[in-house]
Amino acid sequence: MTLATVGYFEPWYVQLLKTLIIFGIGFSLVPLALLYERKLLGRFQNRPGPNRVGPFGSMQPAADILKLISKEQFQPRGAIGWLFKLAPLISAVAALATFALIPFGRTQDVFGTDVGLYVADSNIGLLLFFALSSLGSYGVLLGGWSSGSKYSFLGAMRGAAQLISYEISQGLALLGIVMTAGSLSLSEIVEHQNGMWFIVPQIVGGLIFFVATLAEINRTPFDLLEADSELVAGFMTEYGGGRFALYFVGEYVHLVVAGAMFSTLFLGGWNLPFGIDPPGWVDPIVVLAKTGLIVSLIIWIRASLPKVRYDQLMSFGWKVLLPLATLNALVTAIILVTLAD
């Protein structure tokens, strides 16, 4: 018996091509998300946001990234060199790798070959998602620790504390889905939502997962790792130039992945409500539109809510989210067993 299988049925060159295309989309979503966030944040504050570089500020991310990579690669004297250089890479790679798991549509017939619109459809997709997102926190932890700076270290410590207080409830919140769909494969979970999205029967799980995701991608109100007001810039205080840009890329890929993951798990992926069944090429657009919706919601929350205190996040994670997620899993299990008879 194999532990995990990854469904491949395309020839190798198709796999290579679709991998390149999906990562191309993933990478090009970074500057888009960057600009979109700044524009939208501006609107939430009665200002238009960046509009000087290029038409409607469209070249702003390019200018930002160009500025960052042309800056000096500074390293503090007390830093642990190789870890300091490796940490941002871990963060960005883990975030990008998560992108491989997201299914963008049904298996399509493209020029006579059946192509699954995902990089890898593993039968343990959900577990892989958790594994990769935990790996991403290593980038934060190691980066903060190896910087040799108090602020970075404090940020990393908070990262560790934050990690254990949200991850359990995040996992438990998805148990209801796993039980209902009977699979850990993301594309099967989406198939199972044809008819009813999981946000309806699993509203509690969805809310818990959403809040925990905010903590996972270090967004307000849980951006304790960065904590501009008290820790300068948290774990990335000592980073500048290209390495800082890499953390930035990781952060925005994480943002997009979080949106895509939520829409895959709870908003029915490529399924449309009211029995609308468009042709297959619409599927990726539907997924991206739902992703954009969730990303907007996350930005909206960033524009509205103040940061919670460190101990508030801990007690919220352990005393509210964890019991609720457990209860949700239990109730779902009981209902499923009752209905099965």
Binding site: R43, F44, N46, N51, W300, A303, S304, L305, V320
Partner: protein, 186 residues
């Protein structure tokens, strides 16, 4: 000490006084979580209202902030509209009134054949050092002939200090671009 509602005078308390502290509600269990959820939604609603309001930004180099009619910007020297003669008679009252000592006036006698000003004398040299000027408007108040007034221009940055010494010719000229005036009620 019971709270009276009005602000107590400073140092009105003794160390053994019992001070009534007003606290926020206790976080509480489920009720607290419910309240937090409600307040969160209220916060989201508040910030969404800003999107509906639209932007209030003035895109500066393209559009300028309008000023009030009595705004004290760069000085202007005036001439009589009918004769075209300068109103300034070189009395140096503005220079005397100037607290920053930034006005320099050198007066000269008018030639009756070729008059420059309406009075007996005129300002042969009239310089305002705008890098010293504090825009108080005392010169305008001191002037007996309304020859100098504070204009509406506020874009006065320059690269050299010497470029900020405005001569009579520069002060007499109309500004190249008129600064927008604030509409009534704005």
């Amino acid at each position: 000490m019971p709270s009276t509602g009005s602000r107590p005078p400073a140092r009105s308390w003794a160390p053994d006084d019992v001070v009534a502290v007003q606290r926020g509600p206790e976080p509480g269990g489920l009720a607290g979580a419910y309240r937090v959820f409600g307040e969160t939604l209220r916060g989201l609603k508040t910030s969404f209202g800003r999107v509906v309001e639209g932007t209030t930004t003035i895109e500066y180099p393209e559009e300028k902030t309008p000023v009030y009619p009595r705004f004290r910007g760069r000085h202007r020297l005036h001439t009589f509209e009918d004769t075209g003669l300068e109103k300034c008679v070189g009395c140096s009252l503005c220079a005397a009134a100037c607290p920053a000592d930034c006005i320099r006036v050198v007066a000269a006698e008018n030639d009756p054949e070729d008059r420059v000003s309406g009075g007996e004398r005129y300002a042969a040299v009239y310089e305002i050092n705008l890098s010293r000027c504090i825009f108080c408007g005392y010169c305008e108040m001191a002037c007996p002939f309304d020859a100098i007034t504070m204009g509406h221009d506020y874009e006065l940055a320059d690269y050299n200090r010497s470029d900020l010494i405005f001569t009579k010719e520069m002060l007499l000229q109309e500004p190249p671009e008129r600064t927008p005036l604030r509409a009534a009620g704005e």
